[in-house]
């Protein structure tokens, strides 16, 4: 009996030791390694799904025209390994080919591709989708999956194409074997500038699955709610944009120019109503503007009014004049002596025609006298340092990134430290300085609105995509004054006279009852470091109606090849055509006089 008890005691110790080992192991799994196991368990029983947001629309200023929108597409993909493992590849390819109207061999070659997944057809029609869904429910299409894709569409293309830019899908590494095109990112233009507003936020959902990856419908948990992108209301007036586009296209052919561009800005707040550039396609490259923008050559995608830096020529003269007036170096009714020519450093500057021996200050602008403006410039350079002059030019709104809500653009060029004696004349005539057309337009807006600097911009408001209510107004109220009222009035009056009797006669719209203010320019083009003969840029800057300016219009023609090259001869008529069409077509339903405020 006692021997039994001794032996049994041994077993009690054995069981107690075994219990201790079990406790240790349990503690190890449930407490020490808890995080590790819990993570593994969670990743095994749950699946995450990402739902792409709809990218917001880009609208014209009246919300009526859609410039860019997103569309949900349904595409068909196949899991090639799954199909091959079921040994039904021929049968499935026959079904698919019949529904999708594709050759059987093509579908079969997709199934037998070496990749684990491949597209069969992108963007299938609703009827096809329904047929495929029916077959899927009956279990005859294993390994065939339907994918929701978001596609970007530009209904007005190629109108305003270079302003809007484009957005394309980006492949997220390791997320999807096929690579969806849905993860849209803006690459250029407004799509890039307003990407954060337009993009929206991905929805992330989590659900439980069983061992066979079948989802549990009741277990869907929202990790991040889906948020569609906001709509962007732009300042672009589609009618003006259309007129500008058509006229520029005609002018490009008529004048055999390398490029033409034009911009219309509202001087009261700097909204860009229309902005367009057309370049002649180089002869070696086929250019088809119907292709999507991302298929264009990079140089064709550039929006020249904001991108092209050029020497402005005579439309620069009002800037020198206003700087001189603001610094009281000249007086408004002063008489400036005139000579045949004037010498600056080693260069003799001639005028383009002969004038009387004394010119009134405003006649310098009206007749675009080179010698006259150089006299003003000489006074400026005699009394002020180069740094001061360059600072004044910057104060006038140059050398900054505009449009302000656009991707970074060239700032322009100004090198005061390299100025020499010749620069006194060259700068007065609008050389040795690089500006963009929209920077020039911003200056003329200040002339038109009484001296306030505007910030040209494209964005007008951010709208809620579901009900169209304004979420945020984008305000760019001009509040910095760059010139006094009297200076701006002086220049405006000179510009009106310029159109009436000066160089810009061909822009006259008096017969429609609309007074136009304008300034012409003809600049030589710099080719490979020297001014080439016979290569010019003709420009015209103007606004209308002159007494209550509603729009500032600038046009510029680069290297016209059809004979005439003066700004007054080709740029002013182009301005005239655009302005006339705007007055007749856009305001034909209300009396013209009312529009013009007469």
């Amino acid at each position: 009996m006692s021997q039994s008890n001794y032996r049994a005691t041994g077993f009690i110790i054995f069981f107690c030791l075994l219990s201790l080992i079990i406790f240790f192991k349990l503690f190890l799994f449930t407490v020490i390694q808890y995080d590790n196991w819990a993570d593994l368990a969670h990743s095994q029983v749950t699946r995450q799904v990402i739902v792409e947001p709809l990218r917001g629309r880009i609208l014209s200023s009246d919300d009526q025209t859609v410039l860019a929108e997103s569309e949900v597409n349904v595409s068909l993909a196949i899991d090639t390994f799954k199909i091959r493992s079921t040994k039904q590849d021929v049968q499935i390819s026959k079904h698919l080919a019949e529904i999708l109207d594709l050759p059987v061999e093509l579908v079969l070659s997709n199934i037998h591709s070496k990749h684990c997944a491949s597209w069969v057809k992108r963007d299938i029609t609703p009827a096809e989708f329904q047929q495929i869904q029916q077959l899927q429910h009956s279990g005859r299409l294993p390994g065939v999956c339907i994918r929701r894709e978001i596609k970007r569409k530009y209904p007005c293309h190629p109108l305003a194409a270079t302003i809007i830019g484009f957005a394309i899908g980006q492949h997220e590494e390791g997320f999807e074997p096929l690579g969806t095109y849905s993860n849209l990112h803006g690459i250029e233009g407004l799509e890039y500038a307003y990407n954060t507003v337009l993009a929206g936020r991905q929805g992330r959902y989590e659900y439980l699955v069983n061992r066979y990856s079948a989802p549990d419908q009741n277990s869907v948990k929202i990790l991040e709610p889906l948020q569609n992108g906001f709509d962007l209301r732009t300042t672009i007036d589609i009618r003006l944009q259309n007129i500008v586009h058509e006229e520029l296209a005609k002018a490009l052919l008529e004048e055999k120019a390398v490029s033409v561009m034009a911009v219309i800005v509202d001087p009261t707040d700097g909204s860009i109503l229309a902005s367009c550039s057309i370049q002649a396609a180089s002869e070696t490259e086929d250019f088809n503007s119907d292709l999507p923008v991302n298929c264009w050559l990079p140089e064709m995608r550039r929006h020249l009014p904001a991108f092209a830096v050029f020497e402005p020529g005579s439309i620069w003269k009002p800037i020198i004049m206003s700087i001189a007036l603001e610094n009281q170096l000249v007086v408004q009714d002063e008489m400036i002596p005139w000579n045949e020519s004037v010498v600056c450093g080693t260069k003799r500057f001639h005028d383009w025609k002969s004038f009387p021996p004394e010119l009134k200050l405003d006649e310098i602008l009206i007749h675009s006298s080179n010698v006259g403006i150089i006299q003003v410039s000489q006074r400026l350079f005699a009394n002020r340092s180069h740094q001061f002059i360059s600072h004044e030019i910057k104060r006038m709104g140059f050398l900054r990134n505009i449009p302000v809500d656009y991707p970074v653009q060239p700032y322009g060029m100004l090198y005061p430290e390299m100025w020499g004696p010749i620069s006194v004349g060259a700068l007065a005539e609008g050389y040795e300085v690089g500006v963009t057309l929209i920077q020039m337009a911003a200056f003329y807006c200040a002339v038109a609105n009484g001296g306030y600097l505007v910030d040209p911009h494209f964005g007008s408001a951010i709208l809620n995509p579901s009900d169209g209510h304004v979420v945020r107004e984008l305000n760019y109220k001009p509040d910095i004054r760059i010139m006094s009222d009297s200076t701006s009035t002086f220049i405006r009056k000179a510009m009106i006279q310029c159109v009436k009797k000066g160089t810009g006669k061909k822009a006259n719209l008096d017969y429609l009852g609309c007074q136009v203010a304008g300034k012409t320019a003809t600049a030589k083009l710099l080719v490979d470091g020297s001014y080439a003969s016979g290569k010019y840029r003709a420009s015209f800057a103007g606004f209308l109606p002159a007494d209550n300016p509603q729009m500032v219009i600038l046009v510029s023609i680069e290297d016209p090849g059809a004979g005439a090259y003066y700004g007054g001869a080709i740029a002013a008529p182009l301005f005239h055509k655009i302005a006339k069409r705007i007055l007749l077509e856009c305001f034909n339903d209300i009396p013209l006089m009312e529009v013009l405020g007469c």
Binding site: M1, Q3, S4, N5, R7, A8, F11, I12, F15, C16, L18, S19, I21, I22, F23, K25, L26, F27, F29, T30, V31, Q33, Y34, N36, W37, A38, L40, A41, H42, Q44, V45, L208, N210, R211, Y212
Partner: protein, 361 residues
């Protein structure tokens, strides 16, 4: 009958009730997603428990000394049933006329306990002779074990072998006699993994547990899912019915892997409670044995509690990767009719033994 329950050790009853209650809850939560009707397995298990308690009441009322004189009949019955399985059955199951399935190896376990308790209870005054005493006992038991193993049901055979060795050891058989079957059987055991591929696979998976630097998901699927279920339980578990691994991922969630489900939903605390319940039953059996007047009762108490405890520890050890997979269920917890009824019947005998112990104040 009431007298029996008045005299029985109350701690045994408390332990049994706790185990049955916890077991029913475990079956309920582990089997909800196995059948379209979430209570299908639970109600069947409830039925088995009710039948089992009936059997327990019957066996608790039969004086344990009754089994002393008629051990040869059940023994023959066990052999006949095992032979029937061998000829008509499917693996270890035998289908009866009513559509019921019984597992004769479960019955063989209790028969071997009663038989060994009987033969080891003779007082041989230390005169154990190998040819006369030890060899016949070991041969008869070995015959049953080998028959069970050949069904093939190695898990039950292993438990039966453990019980046999334990009872022979406790019954004061000389150690040198016990060594001889070990030496004879060892080569046979070594051959088994090479003959039966599933045994080989189980041992392979078990050895993965001890391989250094192995990623968890490189374990065998069953092992990995049991670790996931237990590891994600934490101190207090996910709450009753909130387990997720048990839903379709964990194989045999309501039978062999029920301990993992308990730990997933009840945490470390519940897991330790289950282990302590089995240990308590074993210690109560030992306590009862030491208070018995006769050797037969003592042997019965030790054998029955050892049988329940070793099976429980084997199952839990398998879940935790301490032993290779044996296919042994957790007694009183796992779903299964034969096992539940037979175990409760056996524990009824233990209750009867306990009611006739010396009362020590």
């Amino acid at each position: 009958m009431l007298t029996v329950f008045r005299l029985v050790d109350p701690w045994i009853l408390i332990t049994l009730i706790a185990m049955l209650g916890l077991g029913l809850a475990a079956v309920l939560t582990a089997s909800v997603s196995l059948n379209p009707n979430p209570f299908f397995y639970f109600f069947r298990q409830l039925l088995y428990v009710v039948i089992g308690i009936g059997m327990l009441l019957i066996s608790a009322c039969i004086d344990y000394r009754t089994y002393r004189f008629k051990t040869q009949y059940p023994f023959i019955l066990a052999i006949v049933l095992l032979m029937a399985v061998y000829m008509f059955g499917n693996q270890s199951w035998l289908t009866l006329i009513g559509g019921f399935h019984i597992q004769p190896s479960e019955i063989a376990k209790i028969i071997i306990i009663v038989y060994l308790s009987y033969v080891m209870s003779f007082d041989r005054h230390g005169g154990y002779r190998f040819w006369r005493h030890s060899l016949p006992i070991m041969t008869t038991c070995g015959f049953l074990i080998v028959m069970t193993a050949l069904q093939p049901d190695f898990g039950t055979a292993l438990v039966m072998a453990f019980i046999t060795v334990y009872l022979l050891f406790i019954g004061s058989m000389p150690l040198r006699h016990l060594m001889i079957p070990f030496v004879c059987v060892l080569p046979m055991i070594c051959v088994v993994p090479f003959v039966f591929s599933h045994v080989h696979q189980r041992i392979d998976y078990f050895l993965l547990n001890w391989q250094m630097g192995l990623k968890p998901w490189q374990l065998g699927y069953h092992d990995y899912q049991m670790r996931l279920a237990m590891g994600s339980g934490g101190w207090f578990g996910k709450g009753f019915g909130n387990g997720i691994i048990k839903r379709s991922f964990l194989p045999a969630s309501h039978t062999d892997s029920i301990f993992s489900v308990l730990v997933e939903e009840g945490g470390l605390v519940t897991g330790m409670a289950v282990v302590l319940l089995f240990l308590a039953l074993f210690l109560l059996g030992e306590r009862t044995a030491r208070l018995m007047h006769d050797r037969f009762g003592a042997m019965l108490a030790r054998g029955i509690t050892f049988y329940v405890a070793i099976q429980g520890f084997l199952n839990i050890g398998v879940c935790l990767g301490i032993f290779p997979n044996t296919g042994v269920t957790l007694p009183l917890f796992s779903y299964g009719g034969s096992s539940m009824i037979v175990t409760l019947f056996t524990l009824g005998i233990f209750l009867n033994v306990s009611s006739q112990r010396r009362i020590v104040y």
